[in-house]
Amino acid sequence: MSRTEAKKPSLCTNDPLTKERVSFSLSVLSGIVKSCYGPTGRLKQLHNGMGGYVRTTSQSSALLGGLSITHPVLKVLTASVQNHISRFSDCGLFTAILCCSLVENFQRINFAACTVTKISRHLLSLCTDYLKSEACGCRISVDFDNIKTLLSLVHSILASKPACMLNKTEANHLSTLVLRAFLLTIPHTIETNVVLGTCVIVPVKDKRVMDSTVFPGLLIEIPEFQLARTFPVKRVSSSTIKMALFCISMSGDLSNTGEGTVIVHHGISLEVAVLDQLLNLGKQLVNDQVGLVVCQKVIHPSLKQYLKEHHVITIDRVGVSMMEPLSKMTGSQPIAALHSVSPTCYGSLKDLRTESFVSKHFLHLIPNDTLVCSLILCNRSEMAWDELKLACQTAEHVLQLTIKQPLALLGGGCTETHLASYIRHKSFTLPTNVLKAIDCSRTQYQLVADAFCRSLECVACCLEHDDGEILTDMVYGHSWSIQSGFPCDCNWSDLVLKCGCGIYNNQQNLNWTVLRSQCIPFAPQSCSNEPSINSTDHLILDCFTAKYSGLQVAVETANLILDLSYIVEDQN
């Protein structure tokens, strides 16, 4: 008889957004994400009271993954941000901040949820159409011939993670490394569907950041005692080493014997039979002039010894994650048979060396065609290393996204303020038939549009954490920040230096106003082909694909949350 337990009835909440509990926890969450944003963002320390690992971070993926959220409304919000991060790695905080402030601002105007939803979806479509169009004034195209834009993109990502504890030279050094590692994964030959290689990050935690470097090929860690007996390696020619890659166990255990029974007569040892087969295999490998045998699982010591005697280097227990880069890099096929191995499965290597870092020893497999590279990432403290690894992975992912869609958005808050001024301008000149199609009045539309723009500008304002002021100009709609403690009687143009993304320097004719103050709507000008463009310095750039999708996800999630009329919580 099954054990049946009475289920507890569920807890229902009506109109959840009007409840104190929701708005309070929403404001706490939005406070956390806002304070983390940008290069001067504040760090958060995550720990649990029981002790153990403490994490210092300002990145959304670590932050949201660490928070334990109980309220269902917030769960929806964080889940959608986390899903965004898992797709794009970048722009997680942007999505979270935008979503929070959209919910807050839309709640403040207090319209029926379906009206707000309709209008904000229209506003979103205005934004996405604009960002996709050629006329878009806040995006630049990425030229892969010119390293500078790519470098700016990587640098902006690394610089916006203050918990990595990088100084300026270190950030520059790492940006170059990440970019070089990425370029190594691009295949030389052009086929119809290009498959990028992989970059393996090797942790070395006791050295300076400046000691980080990139190697083409793979680094496989080996114990020190093995290092002594690896040489000399048998070569086919001066630049070719034949290698065999096995994906089955070579430990001499019995293979699958099926569901029936196997009866073994006395005096017969199956282990010996298998070992015999292994040694035969070893003989074949030696005859085939194989210089390196790599096995995913364990190699029997007798076979290892036999191969060593014939100057064949063996590496075992490389694990399943290394199999794909290994076979991709060397062109060898993972072998799953212990006899009659086809010679077509062998791969080749250009060279084999040993490398040592601090206390770690590596066998460096150098391929003929680089598709795989290893990034040795160093940082002094464990905590900062974790943060740095995450940042480097983000940067790599962003570069992959950028190669698919070679566009970048202006960073430093300029995209947000530019987009906000574009939407303000558009909402004032909206034709009446559009309003009719949305089924709302012009005032309603403008109020929602205003809330939408204020949420966008709020993201730009979050870049400033030190009581400074964010200004916007009335020509390009970019964002300009000034430090706190400015004298109130002086001219704005004396205080500003560069706009947020670094594309414009201080010019006379830009009409600055404080962001979030009422201003006349204007059509922001595009940044392309202007003489005033600052071309010497690094720009601050954001990944187009990630931000484009993040914007949509934020608006959709905000709409979803506003549309909630009821919560049913299962208490079991």
Binding site: S10, C247, V262, L270, S340, T557, V568, N572
Partner: protein, 710 residues
């Protein structure tokens, strides 16, 4: 000790109303979403009434029974859970009001003789009986006689084709109720696309819908973290597995399905393998390897490029596959395998000693077979060539969170269930040949007279004018008669001798119709009459089809004189040729039209019904039906419920078509099924007289459980 309590109508009302209040907020296009958390902590967004009701985890057995009824209705029609519970609560409330009134109520006639409880029970039983009578006799009858003339047909031609416009408005209305107005446009476009791309030829729609509904899980994939606008339809099938081996291939790709491991083991179950010598063991190992190699070579020689396996294959198989250039997909679910078998009509390949030499017959051809990355998962994308009534396509749902993709997927599935219902027809149940002694009401008499009159028309067309005048004296409301005859006149081209202009019709162009009738040759002398005659219709199907054709031909020239003009050119159905209450593809415009219509006709039925019990029941049902449009119009400013209702009833009284407030159509069959299910549930609830709480778990044959197979 078991506790027992008698069924209390008051409690039932309370429970139903509590349930209704949980879903009321999510009803209609202006309703909101419900956020649910599961015991596992995951969140789910929904507007699906069934999900919400099931998540409530209710204690009372009667409430659980109501939810079970809702669930079974919903799983059948894919729609209407919220309307179900609201209607049920209103009906219970209405019945309670009757019982409370007591005096003058037909259900409380002989109360003096019994104890209070018993009499209460007795009256409940009586109500339930009358409900049963109502459901089996009157509902179908009213549908057939009165409501049917308001139905529109979703089909643009008589072969059952459905135009894209109509399809879109049906789907849009459906998604409006299921997911709200945020993404309804996108999803209705998507499902419309899916329907037209999956259906290879006109007549395969039922087969295709069956297949889509059965295998919906295999036909969709969800990606979280992307905006909803990235949702799309892909040609071909997506298998929810990655390649174990992938060897790119071009052109037509031959594929094979296997359901067991290709590599044979040393021993099989029930067999013994005796090792006599080490050499023997080695030799057998070698033999196994060689055999696997031989099979893979054989497949390669047969130009097989892809192996689809339901089990995990040994590494050795994968190794040889890679060498032979064969891609392998393993661990496919049994549903995926059966979907593949159904769409391609092949059966799995079993390698045996005999057939590894011969030609392999059971293969399928794919246009492409390649990896597909969705979100962070890698899947296999197969472009199968069709061999059955389903052109393989699949849907990708994108959304910021899992709750959204889940909601969209279930709404999409529901839409296809709804379409399945849309193409169903309702036969007039035999009970409607009103011979019951119980139902010797004036209505039956009216019908008889009516039949007489129409048969007179049939026999002697020249003198039908007088007959018509006679028939206008019948007890039927004059309005209905007018419309009936207007219809017969429109269709009845054969009896052109009729002097139509003398009929008391409100037809716009009687003279023109007259001319038309005269000018065209007499093609068909069969009587095609609109309503009520269904019960006595005896013509065979071949005749019916002839009539259909005739009517179709007539329909086009006569279209502009149809008094019921529509903004769009939905064709009015002329459904009188068969024994159908609801013809396949019948639709009505949304916005509570069905409820208002049924309300109106039930009321007029109640007025002339001579059975007091049925009168009361009809009135209660009619009033309860109005609660749905009341909720639908609760927040709109320009169309308040009273305005809508007033407009609709005055239109009905003057015999005009109902005003349409919203675009969109809904299936009549679903609505009809809903009313029938609610009445059925109500009947079941009221037949219970005692609720007994027991300590041990109930047996399978328990009352509450038996609701599952409603």
């Amino acid at each position: 000790m078991a506790s027992a309590a008698s069924l209390d109508l008051g409690r039932l009302v309370q429970e139903a109303e509590a349930l209704a209040s949980a879903v009321r907020g999510a009803l209609g296009p202006r309703g909101g979403q419900v956020l649910m958390t599961r015991p596992t902590g995951e969140t789910l967004l929904t507007r699906d009434g069934r999900r919400v009701l099931e998540a409530l985890n209710l204690g009372p057995p009667t409430a659980r029974m109501m939810v079970a009824c809702v669930s079974s209705h919903h799983s059948m029609t894919g729609d209407g859970a919220k309307t179900f519970i609201i209607l049920l609560s209103k009906l219970l409330r209405g019945l309670q009001a009757i019982l409370d009134k007591r005096e003058g109520s037909p259900f409380c006639e002989d109360i003096q003789r019994r104890e209070r409880d018993q009499k209460h029970c007795h009256s409940l039983k009586q109500i339930s009986q009358s409900l049963m009578t109502f459901q089996t006799h009157i509902l179908d009858h009213i549908m057939a006689q009165d409501l049917r003339k308001h139905f529109l047909s979703a089909f643009s031609s008589w072969e059952g084709e459905i135009s894209r416009d109509t399809m879109e408005s049906i789907l849009e209305a459906y998604f409006c109720g299921r997911i709200g107005n945020s993404h309804q446009k996108l999803l209705s476009q998507l499902s419309c696309d899916f329907y037209y791309r999956c259906i290879p030829f006109k007549n395969g729609k039922n087969e295709m819908l069956d297949l889509v509904n059965e295998y919906f899980l295999e036909l969709h994939s969800a990606v979280t973290g992307l905006p909803v606008s990235n949702s799309r339809i892909l040609e071909g099938l997506v298998l929810h597995r990655d390649f174990a081996v992938y060897c790119p291939a071009d052109g037509d790709i031959r594929m094979l399905i296997v359901t067991e491991s290709i590599d044979s083991a040393l021993s099989a179950s029930g067999l013994e393998f005796v090792v006599n010598a080490e050499v023997q063991y080695q030799a057998s190992q070698v033999w196994i390897t060689k055999r696997t190699e031989a099979i893979m070579k054989h497949l390669q020689n047969n130009n097989i490029k892809v192996l689809l396996s339901s089990v995990k294959q040994q590494e050795i198989v994968i190794y040889y596959a890679k060498i032979s250039g064969i891609s392998i997909v393993e661990c496919l679910s049994s549903e995926e395998i059966s979907l593949l078998c159904k769409t391609t009509g092949i059966s799995p390949f079993i390698p045996t000693q005999d057939n590894i030499r011969s030609e392999i017959a059971e293969t399928m051809i794919a246009k492409f077979c390649r990896p597909l990355v969705l979100g962070s998962k890698r899947y296999v994308h197969l472009g199968l060539t069709r061999t059955c009534a389903f052109e393989p396509h699949c849907v990708i749902f994108c959304g910021p969170v899992h709750g959204v993709t889940e909601q969209h997927a279930s709404a999409f599935h529901g839409a296809f269930k709804m379409l399945q219902q849309l193409f169903k027809a309702v036969d007039l149940s035999d009970g409607c040949e009103i011979n019951d002694q119980q139902l010797k009401t004036s209505l039956a008499e009216t019908e008889k007279q009516f039949i007489d009159s129409s048969s007179l028309v049939d026999e002697n067309p020249s003198c039908n004018q007088t007959d018509l005048q006679k028939s206008s004296d019948l007890a039927m409301p004059i309005v209905e008669l007018e419309s009936d005859f207007m219809f017969s006149a429109l269709i009845d081209r054969g009896s052109s001798v009729r002097e139509l202009q003398k009929l008391p019709l409100k037809c716009k162009h009687p003279s023109e119709m007259w001319v038309k009738n005269k000018s065209e040759p007499v093609v068909n002398n069969h009587r095609i009459c609109n309503d009520a005659m269904t019960a006595i219709e005896t013509t065979s199907t071949s005749v019916v089809s002839k009539q259909l054709n005739a009517a179709k031909e007539y329909w086009k020239p006569g279209n502009h004189i149809v008094p019921f003009k529509y903004e769009k050119s939905y064709k009015h159905t002329v459904q009188s040729y068969t024994n159908l209450v609801i013809q396949a593809g019948s639709v009505l415009s949304v916005g509570g039209n069905f409820e208002i219509l049924l309300h109106y006709y039930l009321h007029s039925y109640a007025k002339q019904c001579q059975q007091p019990k049925l009168t009361v029941i009809s009135t209660v049902i009619a009033d309860a039906l109005l609660s749905i449009p009341k909720i639908l119009y609760r927040t709109t400013k320009e169309n308040s419920f009273t305005q809508v209702y007033f407009k609709a009833t005055s239109a009905l009284q003057t015999n005009q078509q109902l005003p349409m407030h919203q675009q969109g159509l809904e299936s009549v069959y679903c609505k009809y099924q809903l009313v029938a299910s609610v009445l059925h549930c109500l009947t079941k609830l009221l037949t219970i007289d005692l609720i007994i709480g027991i300590k041990r778990p109930p047996q399978k044959t328990e009352v509450n459980d038996s609701e599952e197979d409603l």
